[in-house]
C-alpha cells in the first residue's frame, strides 16, 4: 500500500479527506485556504493531529467535528466547542504546549478541559519565532516571544465569538461575559457555548485590534495547578515520538559513522550485513559540512537494521581525520590563554588595577565536551516524492532544516513539509545549526532511491551513535584574575576564555559573530553583573579543532556561570566576607539578581547554621546567582562530604524571577529538571577524545544522574508583573558553581575543573 493511500485511509477514518471542500467562511488565516494555496505543506498540517497526542482524549472526542471557526493560524474551534491551539514551538519536555495553550485559553476564556494542542507545520511566515525571525525553538524564548501574540490570538477568537452572540441575541457585546467556553448575557440569562457560536463567529470580520486582559482578570495564567496538556498521553504510552511514527512500507535505517571526525569511507563489505534476516539493502550516503558520510543498513525492523549495521566491514581513510585527544586540546587552550584575546568587554584599566592590587586571585577553569544525551536517540522519518519531501521529526529548527533539505534535494523549501512530533528530550541537540541528522536521514533516503528503494525511511541512531555523534557543548578553558583592594573591595576582574565558536561556520555566523566575538561564547561573562570598576573579558576561538560543537542547554552560560560564580566566591573568601553579603553588595544596580539571591538565601536559612553531618562527615553550603535568557536564578546547595571525599548534594533551594509566572508548576518543574541536568554534568558529565576518537558510548561510560543522586529541591518564584521570560535553560547554570562553592565551604578545597568527579577523593 502506498503512503498516499495510507494517509487517505487515515483521513477517511477521521471523517476528513485530503480534498475537503470549503465548508465555512473562514476569515483571516484560513486553514483551508492555506491548504489550497500550499499543497506541499498540506500533509504536514493534516497529520498534525495524529502526530500530536497532547489532549488525545479531547482530540478523539472531536474526531468527527469540523473546525468551523479559525480566526487565525493559532486557534480553531469545532462545532462541539472544543478548541485546538496550534503550537509553533516544539514540546520537548519544557512544557511549552501547556504554556502556549494557557495564553490562548486565558484570553479566550476557554474551558481548559476542552483545549488540545497540535504542533504547527513548517511555515516561517505564520509560525516564526518572533525573537529569531525564523521558525524554531530555542534560547528559552517560547513564552517571551509568544506572550502577546498568543494572547492576541485568543482575544481575537473571543471577540468574534462574543460578537456572534451579541448579534444573535440583539444585545450589545459589552453586556456579555465569557467563562469556561460559554458566552452569557446576565440580564436575560441567555447562554451559548463556543461550539454553538463558532459558525457565526467565523462569518464575522476579524477585529483590527483587541484589548488584552488586565493581569487581575487572568483565570489560567498564574494558576497554581493547571494540568499539563501532555500528561495523559505521556503516562499511557500513546504519545507519538519520532521513534514511534510509522508509515506504510516504511524501512528502518541504522547508519555506520566513522570513528573520527573528518574520516572518509574507503571500502565497504556488506556481504554479511545483507545476510541478516530482514535486511533489505545497504546504501552509502554522502556527508557534508560537519556531517558524517557513511553507510546505512535498511531493514524491515530496527533490530535487523542494527544487526546489519554491526555486520558491515568498513574501512575508513583517516589521513585527514581529526586526531587530537582531550588533554592535547586543553594544553593548546591553556597556551592560547597566555596571549591576549579578542576583547569582548572592557571598562576601566584592568591591567593597571591588577598590578596595584592588595590581593590577587588567579584561577584557571577547565570544562569538558558534553553530549546532550536525550533519552530519545536521534532519529528522523523521511518520505521522498516527486519534487517533494515529507519529514516527521521532533522538529526544533524548521526554517533552517527546511532550507537545508530543499538545497540538498534541489527543490523549493515549500516542497519540504516538516511535521512536528514530540521530542524525547533535546537540550538543544535537535536544533542543529548544520541540520546534521535531518540531512543525514534525507541523504540516506536519496541513496536508497538511487538504488530503486522508494520506501519512506526512518533513520535511527543507536545510543552509541548519539553519544559519539559530535555537536557537543564545547570544551573551554577560562583564566581568571581578580584584584581586591586593602579593604577587600573588588576592583578588577579579568577573564580570558578559550573555546570553539558555536556560531562560526553556521548560517547564523553572519548576523551573530561580530568583530571576532561569538556572543554565545562569552554570554554570562562579558555582561558580568557585579559592580567592578575595571572589567575585561577576552576570547580566543581556536579554529583548528574539528570536533563539531553545538548549543547545549544554557549554551555559553553552562560554563561562564561556573567560572564567574566560582571567582566571585573566591573573592568573597579572600575578603573574609559572607558569600551572599559580598555578592549582594556588588549587585546594587541589578535588583532582579539581588531579589533572587535574597529570596534563595532566606528560604535556605543561609544565616542559620547548617545541621551537622554524621561522624566523619563534613557539610557545606554554597550559593550562585546567574541571569540567562533574561531570567534570574539563584541557588543554594547543601552538600555532605564523607571521610573518603565522596559527596552528595542533599538539598537545593532555588529562587527564580522569570517575569509573570504563566504556569508556576511548569516553572518549578523546569527548575527541578534544570538543576538535575546541570548536576549530572557537574558531577561526572564528560566526553573525552583519545587520538580523535570519542571514548564514551552508552550510559555505562557516559554516566548521567540517577534518582538516588537527586537532591531535594525547593523552588520559590519571585512575584512579578514583568513580561514573562524563559525557564527551559536558566535553571541549569547556577547549580554547578553552587555545589562547587558548597564543597569549598565543607572542605576548603576549590573545584576548578569539571566534572567534579573524584577530585575530593584521596
Amino acid at each position: 500500500m502506498g503512503i498516499e493511500k495510507g494517509i487517505d485511509k487515515w483521513l477517511a477514518r477521521r471523517g476528513e479527506t485530503s480534498a475537503a471542500p470549503e465548508r465555512a467562511v473562514v476569515v483571516n488565516v484560513s486553514r483551508r485556504q492555506f491548504l489550497a494555496g500550499s499543497a506541499g505543506l498540506a500533509l504536514g498540517l493534516y497529520l498534525a493531529p495524529l502526530a500530536s497526542s497532547a489532549g488525545r482524549l479531547a482530540a478523539e472526542e472531536r474526531a468527527e467535528q469540523d473546525d468551523i471557526f479559525a480566526p487565525n493560524a493559532f486557534v480553531r474551534v469545532a462545532s462541539d466547542g472544543s478548541v485546538v491551539v496550534v503550537a509553533k514551538h516544539l514540546e520537548m519536555g519544557q512544557g511549552t504546549y501547556t504554556g502556549l495553550a494557557t495564553l490562548v485559553a486565558d484570553e479566550m476564556d476557554a474551558d481548559w478541559r476542552r483545549v488540545s494542542v497540535e504542533g504547527a507545520p513548517a511555515d516561517t511566515e505564520r509560525y516564526k519565532n518572533l525573537a529569531f525571525g525564523l521558525q524554531g525553538t530555542g534560547g528559552s524564548t517560547a513564552m517571551a516571544n509568544s506572550w502577546e501574540q498568543m494572547r492576541q490570538a485568543g482575544a481575537t477568537a473571543r471577540a468574534m465569538l462574543v460578537a456572534a452572540a451579541a448579534e444573535r441575541w440583539g444585545v450589545a457585546a459589552d453586556t456579555l461575559s465569557v467563562s469556561e467556553g460559554v458566552v452569557s448575557h446576565a440580564q436575560s440569562g441567555r447562554e451559548a457555548g463556543f461550539g454553538e457560536l463558532a459558525k457565526a463567529a467565523g462569518e464575522r470580520p476579524v477585529p483590527e485590534t483587541v484589548s488584552l486582559k488586565a493581569p487581575e482578570d487572568f483565570t489560567l495564567i498564574g494558576k497554581q495547578a493547571l494540568p499539563r496538556q501532555d500528561s495523559p498521553a505521556k503516562t499511557d504510552g500513546s504519545a507519538v515520538f519520532t521513534q514511534d511514527m510509522t508509515l506504510p512500507g516504511m524501512l528502518m535505517a541504522v547508519p555506520a559513522h566513522p570513528h573520527r571526525f573528518g574520516a572518509t569511507l574507503s571500502s565497504v563489505d556488506d556481504s554479511q550485513a545483507l545476510e541478516v534476516p530482514g535486511v533489505v539493502g545497504v546504501v552509502r550516503f554522502a556527508g557534508g559540512n560537519r556531517r558524517f558520510e557513511g553507510v546505512a543498513v535498511l531493514a524491515e525492523n530496527t533490530w535487523a537494521a542494527s544487526q546489519g549495521r554491526d555486520a558491515l566491514k568498513l574501512e575508513w581513510d583517516e589521513s585527514k581525520a581529526f586526531d587530537l585527544g582531550s588533554d592535547e586540546i586543553m594544553a593548546r587552550y591553556r597556551k592560547l590563554a597566555e596571549q591576549s584575546g579578542t576583547i569582548a568587554t572592557q571598562r576601566g584599566d584592568t591591567e593597571a588595577a591588577l598590578k596595584e592590587s592588595a590581593t590577587l586571585i588567579e584561577a584557571d577553569y577547565e570544562f569538558p565536551y558534553l553530549a546532550h544525551a536525550a533519552m530519545e536517540p536521534l532519529n528522523c522519518l523521511v518520505k521522498l516524492g516527486e519534487k517533494r519531501c515529507d519529514i516527521w521529526n521532533g522538529e526544533q529548527w524548521q526554517t533552517m532544516d527546511q532550507q537545508a533539505v530543499a538545497e540538498l534535494l534541489g527543490i523549493e523549501p515549500q516542497q519540504v513539509s516538516l511535521t512536528q512530533l514530540y521530542a524525547g528530550g533535546s537540550f538543544g541537540r535537535r536544533a542543529n545549526p548544520h541540520s546534521d541528522y535531518v540531512l543525514e536521514a534525507v541523504a540516506i533516503a536519496m541513496a536508497a532511491r538511487e538504488q530503486g528503494i522508494q520506501a519512506p525511511i526512518k533513520m535511527v541512531w543507536m545510543r552509541e551513535d548519539d553519544t559519539q555523534g559530535g555537536h557537543y557543548r564545547p570544551m573551554n578553558f577560562h583564566r581568571g584574575r581578580l584584584a581586591l583592594d586593602k579593604e577587600g573591595r573588588l576592583v578588577a576582574w579579568h577573564q580570558r576564555l578559550v573555546g570553539q565558536s558555536i556560531m562560526t561556520g553556521t548560517p547564523m555566523e553572519s548576523f551573530m559573530v561580530e568583530d571576532g566575538i561569538d556572543p554565545t561564547s562569552v554570554e554570562g561573562a562579558a555582561n558580568l553583573p557585579y559592580d567592578v570598576a575595571n572589567l575585561q573579558v577576552e576570547l580566543h576561538i581556536p579554529e583548528d579543532i574539528a570536533v563539531p560543537v553545538q548549543w547545549w542547554r544554557s549554551v555559553g552560560h553552562s560554563h561562564t556561570a561556573f567560572s564567574t560564580e566560582s571567582l566571585v566566591d573566591e573573592a568573597a573568601a579572600a575578603a573574609g566576607k559572607d558569600p551572599v553579603a559580598f555578592r549582594r553588595a556588588l549587585l546594587a544596580e541589578h535588583p532582579r539578581h539581588r531579589g533572587v539571591l535574597e529570596l534563595a538565601a532566606e528560604k535556605a536559612g543561609w544565616n542559620k547554621p547548617l545541621a551537622e553531618g554524621g561522624e566523619g562527615e563534613r557539610r557545606g553550603r554554597g550559593v550562585a546567582v546567574h541571569e540567562s535568557f533574561s531570567s534570574y536564578v539563584a541557588q543554594v546547595a547543601e552538600v555532605t562530604v564523607k571521610g573518603d571525599g565522596s559527596y552528595r548534594v542533599d538539598r537545593v533551594v532555588c529562587a527564580v524571577d522569570c517575569g509573570v509566572a504563566v504556569n508556576p508548576d511548569v516553572i518549578r518543574a523546569q527548575m527541578e529538571g534544570g538543576i538535575g541536568f546541570g548536576l549530572s554534568a557537574a558531577m561526572r558529565g564528560e566526553i573525552t577524545l583519545k587520538q580523535g576518537e570519542v571514548q564514551q558510548g552508552n550510559f555505562d561510560d557516559y554516566k548521567v544522574l540517577r534518582i538516588h543522586e537527586m537532591p531535594t529541591i525547593e523552588v520559590h518564584i519571585v512575584p512579578s508583573s514583568k513580561p514573562p521570560t524563559g525557564v527551559g535553560e536558566p535553571g541549569v547554570p547556577p547549580i554547578a558553581p553552587a555545589v562547587a562553592n558548597a564543597l569549598f565551604s565543607a572542605t576548603g578545597q576549590r573545584i576548578r575543573r569539571l566534572p567534579i568527579g573524584k577530585q575530593l577523593e584521596s
Binding site: G93, A374, M375, G425, I707
Partner: protein, 156 residues
C-alpha cells in the same frame, strides 16, 4: 514462529528467536509505548513486566519470554496498582519530555506491587535503573508515595 502472551492476548510472531522483546513489541506488534533508550539494559526506558517482574525488554530475547505473561504500558491501567501510579503521575504532572516515563511507570508499579509502603530509600533502590534526562526524579519519588497513599486508602 514465536508465541507470546502480550497484555493477555496470544500472538504468533515471525521473528528470530534472538530478537529482543523490545523490537518485537515496537516494530512487529506495534506497541510503541515501550521505548528504546540504550539497547543495553542501562536506562530502563524499555521496562515491561514479565511474570509481573520489571524486565528490560531491550536485552531480553523473545525466546526467553515464551509462555510467560508480558505486560506493557498500554495495559498497565488494567492493573489496580498501575492505574494508581498513572493517576499519581498525572496529578503531580511528573512528565516532561515523557520518553522515559513508560519505563518509570512500569518500574514504579512493580515496586508498589511488592512493597505497598516504600521508603525513599526503597524508591531510590527500585528506580535506580530508570534514567530520566529531564531529571523528573523529585516528582517520581513524590508520585510513588502519592500512589502508595492512594492504594492504602482504597484498601481501608
Amino acid at each position: 514462529m514465536v508465541k507470546l502472551t502480550i497484555n493477555g492476548s496470544e500472538r504468533e510472531l515471525e521473528v528470530p528467536e534472538n530478537m529482543p522483546l523490545l523490537w518485537a513489541l515496537r516494530d512487529v506488534v506495534g506497541f510503541t509505548g515501550t521505548k528504546f533508550g540504550c539497547g543495553k539494559g542501562l536506562c530502563g526506558a524499555c521496562t515491561v513486566h514479565l511474570d509481573g517482574q520489571p524486565t528490560r525488554s531491550c536485552i531480553t530475547p523473545v525466546s526467553a519470554a515464551k509462555g510467560r505473561p508480558i505486560t506493557t504500558i498500554e495495559a498497565i491501567a488494567e492493573d489496580e496498582v498501575g492505574q494508581a501510579v498513572q493517576t499519581a503521575w498525572r496529578e503531580l504532572d511528573v512528565v516532561q519530555c515523557g520518553y522515559c516515563q513508560s519505563g518509570q511507570i512500569m518500574s514504579a508499579t512493580a515496586l508498589l506491587s511488592n512493597n505497598a509502603n516504600p521508603s525513599d530509600a526503597d524508591v531510590d533502590s527500585a528506580m535506580q535503573g530508570n534514567i530520566c534526562r529531564c531529571a523528573t526524579y523529585v516528582r517520581i519519588r513524590a508520585a510513588i508515595h502519592n500512589a502508595a497513599g492512594r492504594l492504602a486508602k482504597e484498601v481501608s
